[in-house]
Symmetry: C2
Subunit: 436 residues, 2 copies
């Protein structure tokens, strides 16, 4: 079996240009998709339930007399949970508990302080009122994604969590319903696509309007989320999933090969890259890839993904490996080395870092605790994993004492006049006994 | 002088519908603007400095042989600071110190914890590498905005802060340069518009590419920021500024009238609303508005803004006033009442809350300490003031001990097989001695 993965070498004159070419990925902003989505959004906004029912009939082949009929009751979620195997139920509950324990450390707290003259300043943190969670139907329906999105919202104290998930031709994903029961979703509707996003953003007679929509979806869902952003908050619009493994050459090549597979099996756009200063190790991993690939159930996807976007990169040393990682700003970064801490200190951008040979990225996907919703496509340079903080918001608090009002009012008035805003200046001065 | 401000009454049958109509505001997504911006972005991306120089010549009337000529050196910023009046300099420095003191409390810290089997979990917080700060030229050039955007970035520890600000026909705003000196901006270029946003997002031969772009701008700048979002981070795209004053009726009506003016003088789309259970007080404020308006330098703007989007709203009691505030989710909220704390406890959504009669919103615009970049257009339901956290990012840390790898690997494998992802399962199992 020969599976050709691209080889790069940092010693090449145009290495950094080659690396940038490897990373290049532009999301298709298809105008046809955008126009279709705009029409769906406008229809649901204007006609509510009626439009939602029409699109659900057309796109999912589901006939319903009312949106109420499409609500999946709590009892049905519980029944799904009761029906899964004990092993799966325990895995779901254990994963949820670990995600919850980690999330609880992310919760932001309000604070205040008082100045000498009695002026009070603070930051109040409150949960969002209502959040919508989109869960894809069909093959891309992942119960782990339900847990990763819903648990942090619950920990934040979100008032109501509304899940939507399409059931094409009536097909229900039992594991997704079970995960919704474990995560404590409040309401659940069997609708999907841009029409479900519209229902959550604008509200219909039956589906309540939410304040933020999170969760993955296909290109129509992503376009709809982008379009309603501003009316509601959204999480990031994710690109293909990525892993970068940095290895010193002493990890079992089969472990590393399987880690690359685990990323590549997601879809053909996924990107799996290995960086090592040990060229013989790169050869060994290439060999392991070829040897292990035939037994992979998702072999065809892995082959296309590794062939199109994968790479084995030889570097001078681990310091240069860190420089490669910082250029990539990977979603997932494994530091498969003897002593990961000094290497971690050199990493400036990554969604999640997996320390040492024993930490497979896949445990982070399910149950380690940290969220698996992570910044992709180099956005780890400026954004963060999904977390409790995404379901909390801050309000600034300012309370001036009479003395503080006079003192701050003088400063504010000087600056306001510098900007030509006289009413600002007078408003600030009035409390200090100025003549306004 | 009769200045007619709309009156609403919560006792009206269709009050909430009237309120929603008052709040309705859609940003104009002009296709001509978007097409122009797309062309500018593509040109600067492809041709760098040369395109930037061409657009700067065309739109700002500024001739330069190179972009290096458009860099405003540190010495020039310092000279601007030396040249302002002592009073203004002290006001700038005092405001910066207060903004800094508040921002320092917002800084997020990294954390880690270790489980019984030696598995380590954590969240690492790091500053962004490089941030671009857009500052409008001409009449909307506000030094306070330089401080409010730059100081939190500095407190976060951002490596390099690059400011861009157009100088139409060579006209420089000295106070903006002085504020840049006070805030500690690293580099400053006299460029603006969509072309400056493109330069920051993609980098040119002279202007370094940044990781995030913040700061206000006109409709071209806003459209450009939206378009480059994903390549870089951006702050929110703000709507018109808003104030909601809730008053128990015992504050000096002139103070409240002037607070409404201070919002309304920003621009004609600004929204200033007063809510009170005291109808006589609403009359008194209406009277004060009429009496004080003629003396306002920005009277014409105030008149248009209050006339088009202002309102005086009578409610049953303060509890209902809080319900109105939660529907509006205002950018600025004054609780001009005897005892603001119980009322604050009822407020769920606001960008910044100003407690008590002595706290003018205008002190928050300049020097109270909290940021004046705040969520507008009901987005306080899900978003927060600009803060240090906007210039920091989080990375999840996972380090499994061999025992943790075996334990978590089993759970992950069960869930991965439930999702049909066999390579995930095998990758997770291998570390536990599974046979992969």
């Amino acid at each position: 079996m020969t599976m050709a993965i691209r080889r790069l070498d940092s010693a090449a004159a145009d290495f950094w240009r080659q690396l940038d070419a490897l990373l290049a990925w532009e999301s298709v902003a298809d105008e046809t998709v955008q126009a279709a989505v705009a029409e769906i959004l406008a229809a649901v906004r204007a006609r509510g339930d009626a439009a939602l029912l029409e699109y659900t009939r057309r796109f999912d082949g589901v006939e319903a007399a009312s949106v109420a009929e499409l609500e999946i009751p709590q009892a049905r979620l519980q029944a799904a949970l009761e029906a899964v195997s004990p092993e799966l139920r325990e895995a779901l509950e254990s994963a949820a508990a670990r995600i919850r324990a980690y999330a609880e450390r992310q919760r932001l707290a309000s604070w205040r302080y008082e100045e000498a003259d009695g002026t009070v300043l603070g930051q109040r943190v409150t949960p969002l009122d209502r959040v919508g969670l989109y869960v894809p139907g069909g093959k891309a329906a992942y119960p782990s994604s339900v847990l990763m999105n819903a648990v942090p919202a619950r920990v934040a104290g979100v008032g109501e969590l509304v899940m939507v998930s399409p059931t094409p031709r009536g097909e229900v994903n039992e594991l997704v319903l079970a995960a919704a029961a474990v995560a404590g979703v409040d309401r659940c509707f069997a609708v999907g696509g841009a029409q479900a996003v519209a229902a959550l953003a604008y509200g219909t007679e039956t589906i309540p309007a939410v304040d933020k929509i999170v969760g993955p979806g296909n290109i129509y869902v992503a376009a709809a989320k982008r379009a309603v952003f501003g009316t509601v908050g959204i999480d990031m619009v994710a690109g293909p999933s990525e892993i970068l493994v940095i290895c010193d050459g002493a990890t079992d090549p089969e472990w590393v090969a399987m880690d690359l597979f685990s990323q590549a099996e997601h879809d053909e756009d996924a990107q799996a890259i290995l960086v090592s200063p040990d060229r013989a190790f790169l050869d060994a991993v290439a060999e392991a890839v070829g040897r292990l690939l035939p037994a992979q159930p998702r072999r065809a996807i892995i082959e296309r993904s590794l062939g199109a976007r994968g790479a084995l990169i030889a570097v001078r040393d681990l310091e240069e490996a860190a420089a490669v990682a910082n250029r990539i700003a990977p979603e997932h970064l494994e530091l498969s080395v003897a002593d990961p801490e000094p290497l971690l200190a050199r990493i400036r951008h990554a969604g999640a870092v997996f320390l040492g040979r024993y930490t497979a990225e896949a445990v982070g996907d399910y149950c380690a605790g940290p969220n698996h919703v992570l910044p992709t496509s180099r956005t780890a340079r400026f954004s963060s994993p999904l977390g409790v903080y995404d379901f909390q918001k801050r309000t600034s608090i300012i309370g001036c004492s009479p003395e503080g009002a006079a003192r701050l009012g003088r400063t504010a008035a000087v600056l306001a006049r510098g900007e030509g805003l006289e009413a600002h200046a007078r408003s600030a001065e009035l409390r200090g006994g100025g003549d306004g």
